[in-house]
Subunit: 291 residues, 2 copies
């Protein structure tokens, strides 16, 4: 028997002091939402979907409401979900303004495709019961201000940008992972990061479940999440493997970031090479913690 | 010192008896084109680009001229390239009709993005000196006939479809890989397969270089190419690792296919779980072989 667990992150980066409590509380509430699914007999897939949806709805993070914008000021969302036991997986990239991309990926687990991109991805979502909303509904004042600073004033984008993700484990040790993001503030239109790519920013198998956040290109080139799973599979201690891989991504691939990781019997692991990474977890004994 | 080598494939599948000689000869010529680059002091990146471009120009394969079509009869191309030494990588997906997608990926190695998709990917290509052509210029009579059989008559698509790829090694043991495809015949618009995804259908590091072909979704869910590299890294013999991984993709992920693999000091390795896979190679001692 495993201890059921939901572990979430709200993105690696440098959250301003004044916002840290809200970020931590958002993570606690998201983990709690996932925990409610598990404690009422729901699956790990439904648990990560619920947890990520709560983070998407929270304007503090770069996913759903509050998402980053492209160079031309548009919404372009990336998400993926994966079941560790079956390895069923689904991702959508360069998606139009939908409030909860992770729910579309959850639905797409039943489709033969593993990745849909661009306009046809949004059309697939609409045919499957999801409604586009005006981009303004997902665009916060804070996101618009940051967009101006990045695009008009040449400020470096907050690389990590508050991508959100969740991993979950049930009493049988089944694992799942999901990630959702608006990508890098001021990104090239059509640019896709690691979040919607299975094995890069999102991955689950029978060894571990992983969701990453950070400089997407570095995580893609290192095939971060799948290779982290392999390191654990071939004998590394999970927490150590997570730290070593993130330091490698920083030092060789020139990209900082963070990730969360669980195995069928591990504690919740979170590590980051940025100033911080808001995260939270739920277990049956703890009614949600946020950091 | 390593023996310079170019190894190419023209897709796993069931090539009709009458076409096999042409498929083999096309692979020989592509390997030879890559070999010419290496033997005149060019890089492994330029060698795989040249080899894949020759296969894209050949109407026998599902890439460039002769590419598969979406369910609505449109061209939608996927490609990626990766340098093993620097891990620089670039991919484009759901690209419009460009004759040589691999050359666009080669150019994109200089861009900060690792993956561009959809209409903005085509716009990026145009801004960088590549010209769209009418879709008819890439659509062969054979592709159109197969499209009718799949879409109008419900025939199973030739899953493997003649995706093309190349891996190369120079005398210093540097490696590179590239892949190009039209995807699955009759695919959902916006569907992206494993070819343009780093670590799925295309991958190179200091351990090996890999290009895959087959049921893309199975290769994506298994994160085929990166996990194959890890198996070699952690001690498996390359040819055995390739066979075991492809059998695992077939048996657990329900997807047949094939792949080519080289390491800094290995023979050329090719394996497939389909009826066949046309492939070819060049070394300084052999002026191109095609099978």
């Amino acid at each position: 028997m495993s201890t059921p667990l939901v572990l979430v992150h709200g993105g690696a980066g440098d959250v301003p002091e004044a916002s840290r409590a809200a970020h931590a509380e958002g993570c606690r509430l998201a983990a709690l939402a996932g925990g409610k699914i598990l404690s009422t007999g729901g699956s790990v897939i439904d648990a990560v979907t619920a947890a990520v949806a709560v983070l998407e709805d929270n304007p503090a993070y770069n996913a759903g409401v509050g998402c980053a914008l492209t160079r031309s000021g548009r919404v372009s969302l990336d998400t993926a979900i994966m079941c560790g036991k079956t390895r069923d997986a689904a991702g959508l990239a360069a998606l139009d303004a939908f409030p909860n991309p992770v729910k579309i990926a959850r639905k797409m687990l039943h489709a033969p495709e593993v990745l849909l991109v661009g306009q046809p991805a949004s059309e697939w979502a609409e045919r499957n019961g999801f409604n586009r909303v005006p981009e303004d509904e997902l665009t916060t004042e804070a996101a618009r201000l940051q967009w101006h600073r990045v695009v008009d004033q040449g400020e470096s984008p907050n690389f990590a940008g508050g991508t959100v993700g969740a991993v979950a484990r049930d009493a049988d040790g089944n694992l799942a992972a999901a990630t959702s993001t608006g990508g890098t503030m001021g990104k090239q239109s059509g640019r896709v990061g690691d979040s919607p790519l299975i094995g890069a920013g999102t991955y689950a198998d029978e060894v571990c479940a992983v969701s990453a956040t950070g400089v997407g290109e570095a995580f893609m080139r290192s095939v971060f999440a799948a290779r982290l799973s392999d390191a654990v599979r071939f004998g590394k201690e999970p927490g150590e493997a997570l730290q070593v891989m993130l330091e490698r991504v920083r030092d060789f691939f020139d990209g900082v970031g963070g990730a969360i990781l669980i195995t069928p019997d591990s504690d919740p692991h979170a590590f980051w090479t940025t100033v911080g990474m808001s995260h939270g977890w739920w277990t049956p004994d703890e009614n949600g913690k946020g950091i």
